[in-house]
């Protein structure tokens, strides 16, 4: 990086505790001028924004919210590495803004004391001053700033107050290149001496790169921490010294790790003494009274249940009209393009490949936006932590925490917003486990598959005196199957891949406040946009690939050629018939049916159709013939595609979206026989086998792409696809073989 560029652009890192309004400050600083990326190798999102101040361009890096800079994982190391300029992918920062909650200064200043030790020019944004004032907390900002040795800017980011002042101060401090004047000397002398010694040992070592003092300190403090595992890789010889140093500190009465918290909180108390005064009597605040109700055994549970019902209903049903609208718009676009383009490969590519692919992306937007509207409101008002608090006991049994509840619940509507919502889970292993099992929840895309097969093959019988209906029970059974398998998989994953440790549930319960419409709106647009930009292209690409596999080589069999000839004959008859005559309509119907059969003939002999033949032996134990195998392969982009593929294969046409078409397809399925025999393919066992397969399989490219995006790599989506496909196969086989014994 040349000096010229660094003189033009000032780089600033934004850090702070969760629930301090850090994101709101970031949005207020940068507005829409932000972009999102990834740091290679970790699952942390890289959020960058820009603003201009007095002609200086400032780039802001929003670091993940954290209570402390003591990294326990590569994800948590990102913030430290960015600020210490140790990442090749991120240029050094000129200053740090630490956002603190003015109503909760004690705990917030803990992080500030760590940031100060990094030796960077620092500004503290004293946010939520209004909340502090309402609680009778009086803060002498100048005095506090003097004691900490940094500039303090009071802000109310939700109302946009103090932002201009923050920008001006930031540019000034960043340009000055003066680190926070007085490095917080919070540790006792014994400890500092040990750090000095270790630091010298690193300086004498053969290693060419300088190890920052802050990391040496962390090395001493965090036994078995992430810093130890990385630094010791090149300095294994220092291990005995490290152990000895920790031993000496314990003997001197300043044992690690406790010495850090004790020393820092002592410093915080000294800094706050006299600079912050609280009203003498602590009145029960409105927030406390609300909390009494919302965490109450009866009222709290009731409120939670109603709220979850509302969210589920919203994602499941309210998205319906918007999705219908999108469907309608797509159909209109397809019709328009079909009329515009001559029939042939290009038309098919554009209509069945590109438009269908784009449709497969935007169709998810209503659900994503609605879910993130609710998540935005719940997080911003402080209820999200209560939801986790209420549900934790239940989720712990599955090896997860209360934070997994809302993502799992949303996955019943659609796994994509559900997986995107796992960002509320602060612990990496919990988050990954939730992502791994979320696609097992029966989402709305499975409904068409269930509806088709249950309607056709499961008897509409009532049992238990007419209370229960076998069809309904089968449907409920599919939902239950997904839940049970998810519980088992989660437990197995927690015990194996994720090391069996239940992460701590040490969670702040923030005070309630009114959600800021700007923050909520921003969140909805941000998540929707991120999905379209970063998942969209891949989803379209896969849809086009599957289209190609179904389209090419586009040959016709002898039978197909006869169909084409008959169609041509009918066309010419139609041309000579009076369009108003009854025969004309009849002829049109016949042509349409022939069209369906011709497309069916082509697809049966497409590469994918042939693949269906090839893999048929593999799916025999599931009771499937090559047609079902082919439809299952073709449904890789999305489960519900299996219905339209079956429609094409059985010559009913691909648009199985009204009752009449559905009945026709169901009839075709009932009449289908194995090639060269009269034996029916379908029956209850095969129907169950297909349903179980689709309940458990990962046939949804959008889900896999979103998992890739959320975990920043192909490893986890590959794992999900692998384990779900194996489970689906085995489950379907068991369903078929067992039910065959009874039917």
């Amino acid at each position: 990086m040349s000096t010229q560029v660094s003189e033009q652009v000032l780089r600033v890192a934004l850090i702070g505790n969760p629930n301090t309004g850090k994101s709101t400050i970031f949005n207020a600083l940068c507005g829409a001028r932000q972009r999102v990326g990834n740091y290679p190798g970790v699952t942390v999102e890289k959020r960058l924004g820009r603003f201009s101040q007095q002609g200086r361009r400032v780039e802001v890096i929003d670091l993940p919210g954290t209570y402390s800079l003591s990294p326990r994982s590569p994800d948590e190391m990102v913030a430290v590495d960015v600020m210490l300029a140790r990442r090749d992918d991120t240029p050094a920062v000129d200053a740090v803004v630490c956002v603190v909650d003015a109503s909760n200064l004690q705990r917030n200043l803990y992080l500030v004391s760590q940031v100060l030790e990094l030796g960077l020019p620092t500004v503290v944004a004293l946010n939520m001053t209004d909340v502090a004032a309402a609680r009778g907390i009086d803060i002498d900002g100048d005095r506090l700033g003097e004691r900490i040795g940094v500039r303090i800017v009071p802000t109310e980011a939700s109302r946009g107050r103090g932002i201009d002042q923050l920008k001006a101060t930031l540019v000034e401090v960043a340009q000055s290149h003066t680190p926070a004047t007085q490095r917080a000397n919070v540790f006792p002398e014994t400890f500092r001496d040990e750090v000095d010694q270790l630091e010298r040992r690193f300086a004498n070592g053969t290693s060419s790169s300088v190890v920052p003092r802050y990391l040496v300190e962390r090395l001493l403090l965090d036994a078995n921490g992430y810093v130890e595992s990385t630094l010791m890789a090149g300095h294994g010889d220092l291990r005995p010294e490290l152990t000895a140093a920790r031993g000496r500190l314990a003997e001197a009465g300043v044992p690690v790790p406790a010495v850090e918290a004790v020393s820092r909180y002592r410093w915080v108390e000294q800094v706050l003494d006299g600079a912050v005064t609280r009203a003498e009597v602590r009145q029960r605040s409105l927030s406390d009274r609300i909390d009494r109700v919302l965490t109450h055994r009866v009222w709290g549970t009731l409120a939670f249940a109603l709220l979850m019902l509302l969210i589920f209903q919203a994602v499941f049903s309210w998205a319906g009209p918007a999705m219908d609208l999108i469907d309608g718009a797509l159909a209109a676009t397809s019709d328009w393009l079909s009329a515009l383009l001559p029939p042939g490969m290009l038309q098919s590519l554009v209509v069945d490949g590109i438009v269908a692919g784009v449709g497969a992306v935007i169709i998810f937007l209503p659900q994503i936006m609605i879910l993130f509207f609710f998540i935005g409101v719940l997080e911003d008002c402080g209820y999200m932590a209560r939801a986790a608090y209420l549900m934790d006991r239940l989720m712990v049994r599955v090896g997860l925490s209360g934070r997994s509840f809302i993502p799992m619940l949303s996955s019943f509507a659609c796994a994509i917003p559900g997986i995107m919502a796992t960002r509320v889970i602060d612990h990496r292993n919990d988050r990954l486990t939730t992502i791994m099992v979320a696609p097992l929840m029966s989402c709305s895309a499975r409904l068409p598959v269930y509806t088709l097969l249950i309607g056709a093959f499961i008897p509409a019988r009532h049992v238990l005196g007419g209370v229960l209906n076998v069809q309904g029970l089968t449907m409920a059974g599919m939902y239950l199957l997904g839940i049970i398998v998810a519980v088992v998989v989660a437990l197995v994953l927690k015990r194996s891949v994720f090391g069996g440790v239940t992460p701590p549930f040490v969670m702040e319960m923030p005070s309630y406040k009114w959600p800021s419409p700007r923050t909520v709106a921003f969140r909805m647009l941000d998540r929707g946009g991120a999905f379209v930009r970063r998942a969209g292209t891949l989803i379209v690409a896969v849809t086009i690939l599957v289209w190609a596999a179904l389209y090419f080589p586009h040959d016709l069999t002898d039978e197909g050629r006869q169909l084409v000839e008959r169609r041509e004959a009918l066309e010419s008859t139609l041309a000579e018939t009076d369009p108003a005559a009854a025969e004309a309509a009849d002829l049109e119907d016949q042509i349409a049916e022939l069209d369906n059969r011709i497309v069916g003939d082509q697809q049966r002999h497409s590469y994918l159709g042939r693949a269906g033949h090839v893999v048929e032996p593999l799916f025999r134990p599931l009771g499937w013939d090559w047609r079902i195998s082919c439809a299952a392969l073709a449904s890789f982009p999305a489960r519900e595609v299996v219905v339209s593929t079956l429609g094409v294969i059985y010559d009913v046409g691909g648009e199985v979206d009204d009752d009449e078409q559905l009945t026709r397809l169901q009839t075709s399925l009932k009449n289908a026989t194995w090639d060269g025999s009269d034996e029916p393919v379908y029956g209850v066992p095969v129907a169950l086998s297909i349903m179980v397969f689709f309940a458990l399989c990962a046939q949804c490219v959008s889900t896999l792409v979103v998992i890739r995006r959320e975990t920043n790599g192909w490893r986890w989506p590959a794992f999900v696809f692998g384990y779900m496909t194996v489970l689906a196969y085995l489950g379907a086989m068991v369903a078929y073989q067992v039910s065959r014994l009874f039917v």
Binding site: S103, N104, P257, A258
Partner: protein, 75 residues
């Protein structure tokens, strides 16, 4: 001397020490549960766990198993 988890709703205790040196105890320390600080138990989740506490002017929720690591003396 008793465990933090044993405090009844409305009772307060002064932290004496935190057992163990693993991730959980470090998290508790970082969140402000240092020796000498006064903690009030303010509630219980409807299912009986986790518990809710007030300290250093904010609310913190801990599972019973975590609150068991913290020794407090009555105050």
């Amino acid at each position: 001397m008793t465990a933090l988890a044993m405090l009844k709703v409305g009772e307060s205790g002064r932290v004496v020490e935190i057992a163990g040196g693993d991730e959980t105890s470090v998290r508790l320390l970082e969140m402000g549960l240092t020796p000498g600080v006064v903690v009030e138990r303010v509630g219980t989740a409807p299912l009986g766990d986790p518990l809710e506490f007030q300290l250093r002017g904010y609310r913190l929720s801990l599972r019973r198993s975590e609150a068991d690591l913290v020794t407090v003396e009555p105050c």
